[in-house]
Amino acid sequence: MILKKIKEASLIGRSGSRFPVHDKWESFLKNGGRGYLICNAAEGEPGAFKDKFLLKNEIDRVFEGIDVVNNFFQIEDTFFYVKKKYYKLFKAELLERSKKRGVKIKLKEDRYVAGEETAAISSIEGKRADPKGKPPYPTGIGLWGKPTIVHNLETFYAISEIAKDNYNGERFFCITGDVSREGVFKLKEELSIKEVLQKTGNYPDFEFLVQAGGGAGGIFISEMNIDQPCNGLAVIEVYKKNDFDKNKKMIEISNFLMYGNCDKCTPCREGIYRINEMLKKGFDEKIFNELLSVLEKSSYCPLGKNASKVFKSLISVDEN
């Protein structure tokens, strides 16, 4: 039985939040095992392009994964939630496969936060793509109040591999930045950042630092500390240390988040705005730390919480 196989494979969801797939499924079962399924192909993270890669090269595996879930659970409707740009690129392929299965396609709003699972649910419900609070989790109360499983597109690929006993614990890494071989690479997920760079022929011959986990949500790690696995999204961006301008990077990220957030909660809407402002106009460490603290501890959804982590890692990247 597929659930048992998934549990044995310890499959972790590929969205970056590192949630075990079998936990999601068990929770869904506990809530009746009937409801909706969402394939999340929103891929809004800067530096991430593995969903695009999979749509181009492995689209059938993805849909096979969707079939596996549909065969196991009583799924009323499956939604394919996809970034507009990707939809345009792969329209024919997507339509052909989704029509056959009655999968409904929903285009994602062009906002970073719209890729978050509860925001995706709001969007499919026809509302603004704003995140909802958790708990309740979607597997209990999801789309239109019914239990819902939301998986990243790559997770469906992995599910299909597991169903066919092909899975060997590999995931897709995006390597980008100051590297010689930018691209998507399929490697064992437990590999350290260092090993990933080495195995892909991307280990720099200059002093560098990396951002691991995505261009907006990933943390900054110095060269000395890359002997750790890539947590979160498997995106590794390499920066030449000598060319790296911390302040510029921080402005770039805060700009991205300012445009990408939903503006709903005070710390994220106002806090990131004030961080952006002070980076341009004059830094005040005390206020900066106050703002990071409210982002981390009191923002509504993971976006603000994570932003604080990113900023903190960037500030202290030389020390760690």
């Binding site: 603004r128 609070g133 708990p135 700009n255 300012m258 445009y259 939903c262 503006d263 709903k264 909660c265 005070t266 710390p267 809407r269 106002e270 806090g271 705005y273 004030r274 206020i287 106050e290 703002l291 603290s293 409210v294 981390e296 501890k297 009191s298 923002s299 509504y300 919480k305």
Partner: protein, 570 residues
Amino acid sequence: MKIKLDGKTIEVVGKKTILEIAKEHGVDIPFLCNHPDICVTGSCRICVVRINNENRCRSACDTVAVEGMDIITSDPEIEKIRKTNLELLFSQHREECEDCVWNPGCKLLELAEKYEVKINKYVDRKDHYPEIGFGGIVEFDSSKCIDCRNCIEICKKQNVSFLEMEGKGHLFEVVPAKDRACVYCGQCIIHCPAGSFESVGEFEGVEDAFKGSGDENIVFQIAPAARVSISEEFGLDPGTVSTGKLISGLKKVGADKVFDVSFGADFTTIEEAKEFLEKFKDDDLPLFTSCCPSWVRFVEFYYPRFVDNLTTVRSPHIISGAIIKSLASDPEKTTVVSVMPCVSKKYEIRREELKVNGLNPVDYVLTVREVGRLFRNKDIDFEKLPDSSFDDPFGSASGDAVSYGVAGGVMEAALRQAFFMKTGKKIKEKNLKERSDFSFELEGKEIKTKKISGLSQAVKVLEGLKKYPKLFDYLEFMSCPGGCIGGGGQPMPTNEDIRKKRRKGLISTGTDKKWKSAFENDSVSEIYKQLKSKKDIFHTSFRAERNPENINKKWPIKNRLKSKTDGLKI
């Protein structure tokens, strides 16, 4: 189930949020955006608490308690988060406290004081944001908006959806929708924690009625719901009846006469009952009440197919205003001011078709909030005011007339009247009072009625009537939740608890009346005799209006020069 609240084990029954539980147990968790009328937006992040010793905090407003939860409502870090988030909220809120609908009683300032917030820590981000007028009745000062989106939620709940979000640069902001019409219910005003909304005239216009040449006869008339809620403007408990003090206060600020709008309501009742019986005879039902101007506007704009169902009988204060002027020795020199729990009445008095002999029946409408401000401007000590009575000859109204202020009151009154007119008997009270929909028999036919308060309910019923036109025969619609007691011109705050208390207080003022129903009121027939032309005074007309351009006229936008904040220091 059992949970721990600040170390104390308590028993919780049912599904409740932490904020609700804390309130029940007298534990103070500060909050700004939460309002029980609307679904939680969770935006302000002031009500944060710590659960099960987690590293991050959660909002008490949208976290439902579960068995064994250990909740801490205050520790140094929580307090610091609240303070920082308050400072951030102030950084987008232009303080304009003097003229604010929350003054006195502003929660933002109260919290600023408690948390020793530097309200000018950051430069006001919205200093130059514009003030947007909705049809000259409701004004939205976007420089005060703290983006909690309560206004959007309540507007959506009212099925008006006139307010919406629009992306501007990196921000999403509240804007009026171009293809929708505001119905001026004013619910945005009483659901905004930051005082960004107000009705026209708040509060620069509260003394306008007294600014004439000095030889005018200034006549005030008081709506039922205002005589109870005015108490809250002076810190008295919701539901306290202050009719006598309100009359005295108005006299003190310069009113020559103070009348009861309820005497107009008795005429509305009688006329509406006649119309109901006519339509009953012609098999032309259903009939809709029309004394709520927001409801009328809602039908005219959003459901024009039902315009002919609206009773043409004018609303009570328009009838009483016209009677006052008709019987006045010099109508031109008579200024009529209505004290209303309502914003929409400010719009109603501008409707051209209501003029009688070229004169507006009512010249000014003051909200309950405005009367509170007027009294405070004049340093009136409300609690010490003596109790006065309404002036004659319009001092006597029926108990039913007073009930116009609560949901269901208008239709109940008209039905008692109609039943009596047709059968000579009194209608059975039990069903009439207790149910939102009830039916009775009239000449062998079943009459089905329904009472609706809050436009959220109205749409369901109208959609039902589209499919099944004979679903109901007579319906009362009030735009605001709970009827006029929950009106957009009522004191702040307004919520379900407070509405209930106002309702109770108001109903108590009707029970000691000499007459229960309009048909028992002798003075009504006296006035009928004195009036020459009745048609002009009692009936009006409506028009279907689909074009938002026409109905909204363009939004006048006042651009604010980037300049001063009041620089309020605490």
